[in-house]
Symmetry: C2
């Protein structure tokens, strides 16, 4: 495959990705624009009605000033409504949820740190904590993957499947299992706990949390009328869900990423070049250098290069 | 190293991680609790003053009703204040930023989709788009890593550095470069553009975006008084910053993750076990199975197992 062809494919991939970004934006615009305008119109109408009915009593900018204060407070998670106890915002379960939100990069809206100390600590904590979390996930992966591999190995042996097909089957099975346990089941539970409402909304919240996009802040806002014990139990349940669910997601993603089919797809867009450098990452083959100094006979790395197509390659060992 | 010892280490790692979560929560609580309570007290005072002065004019729950509506609208990015044009919320630059926020899982607060169509599309788009983005990053990585490897290789050759040391030097250099270009420089620019304000705040915003935690929504909210052209340019600049900056972050993280020192650290917590299964990921050694069928002489995978310590291992090829 010529150099030009692969660069062309690479270019198409990037352009395609940017197009997909643009198209997604257009679809969101089409779906969300009208409801947003409608909500805005409604809000304007309410404000206008309020002003019309009671504007006489109020000095010119008093209401705006109050609204300003109330809205600003909300962006820091401080509520103006109800009898929310003063301690609720940063009681330990809430603080744990916030911290987990930082570590998992979910970052639910509405609770950005207020104080400079909080912002600096958030920076430092994330800078140290995110790599540490990645390391923990890597360790957990080493422990769990052999366990997760067994069903696939059993299927491969039992039905004489090609390794690639068995791998795909296993990855898909894992995906469905994780989706069922961490997306559908919690969504149904949440739906029931909310006493009806919308199942789709519950599914959306679960996906939003697990993908770490983190738009919706379900519990902290709407739980103000709940029994405090139940509210805290709910927070701890959410915390456990975030940590376990995210771990499950990462393991599933890794399993898919290492499928020969996925590697082939990625390899399709990569110009043919010696696998050695990319394979070892970082500096040109630390391991390769080690190999060179120790064994002069071996001239090619024995790892199956990720860039190679999915045909079972017999490494030249 | 005995089986018990490594499980103990593994246990310590997990417990240590959970302790770090708890300690982080306690620190955030200590730093943020008082300011939040103070803000809440301020807000209560404002509401009380308002009620005291003008409460006579207003029927019992009118103000609460209005505040409710206003606050709810804000969580969907609809503003009650100023002369924000109706179209601004989901004009194309805003929609692009939102979509990029989904794809990068940054998820800035305050703009959760309103409509059911929007939520469903968000779900589907993220489910398809996130893996696609990972694939694109993998491809970009294949292209960029050889380029990024050259300084390290040069340094290794020039100063006769051990491969591991050169790799660490290179990774650190890359980290500093990325930090400078994508954190410090934009923060300073942002700081100047804001006309003073806080440099720390600007740095915090940059880190918040790049780590995809996504608490602060700098531009969309505060830009309402800006010239529309400048506002849109700012949005597009933010978009480019998010995409490029995140790519740079991911590449840097990958470079660090593949350092022998990091592998050693991870390997410290993994029980000693045959490297074959874990190494190939997914199903027990697709490549291993291939090896078995093709070459019966080779009894051990030739890859340098990630679980091994950082001593230059000579694989038994």
């Amino acid at each position: 495959m010529g150099g030009l062809k692969s660069w062309a494919r690479y270019g198409f991939l990037l352009v395609g990705h940017l197009l997909a970004l643009g198209l997604g934006a257009a679809v969101f615009q089409a779906l969300e624009g009208p409801p947003a305008r409608q909500l805005q119109a409604q809000l304007r109408a309410e404000l206008a009605t309020f002003q019309a009915e009671f504007g006489a009593c109020l000095p010119p900018n008093t209401l705006e000033g109050l609204l300003d204060a109330v809205l600003a407070a909300q962006t820091h998670g401080v509520s103006s409504l109800g009898n929310s106890s003063e301690a609720k915002n940063w009681d330990l379960p809430s603080a744990l949820l916030f911290t987990a939100g930082v570590l998992t990069t979910t970052g639910y809206g509405n609770t950005a740190p207020l104080s400079w100390g909080g912002k600096v600590f958030c920076l430092v904590y994330a800078a140290l904590g995110l790599p540490a979390s990645l390391a923990v996930v890597a360790v957990l992966r080493h422990h769990l993957l052999p366990v997760l591999s067994r069903p696939g190995a059993w299927a491969a042996a039992r039905w004489q499947l090609a390794p690639a097909r068995a791998a795909l089957l296993q990855a898909t099975g894992l995906g469905l299992l994780v989706g069922g346990i961490f997306m559908l089941l919690p969504a149904v539970l949440l739906w029931q706990l909310q006493g009806g409402g919308s199942l789709l909304g519950a599914i959306y919240f679960c996906f939003d949390s697990l993908s770490t996009v983190g738009f919706e802040e379900l519990l902290p806002g709407r739980g103000r009328n709940l029994n405090p014990v139940i509210y805290h139990l709910g927070q701890l349940a959410l915390l456990g869900y975030m940590l376990l669910g995210l771990l499950a997601m990462l393991l599933t993603v890794e399993t898919f990423v290492e499928l020969p089919q996925v590697r082939a797809l990625v390899g399709f867009f990569v110009p043919s070049s010696p696998p050695i450098a990319e394979d070892q990452g970082g500096i040109v083959g630390q391991d390769e250098l080690a190999l060179r100094t120790v064994s002069s006979s071996s001239s090619m790395s024995c790892t199956a290069p990720p860039a190679a197509p999915a045909r079972e390659q017999a490494p030249a060992c």
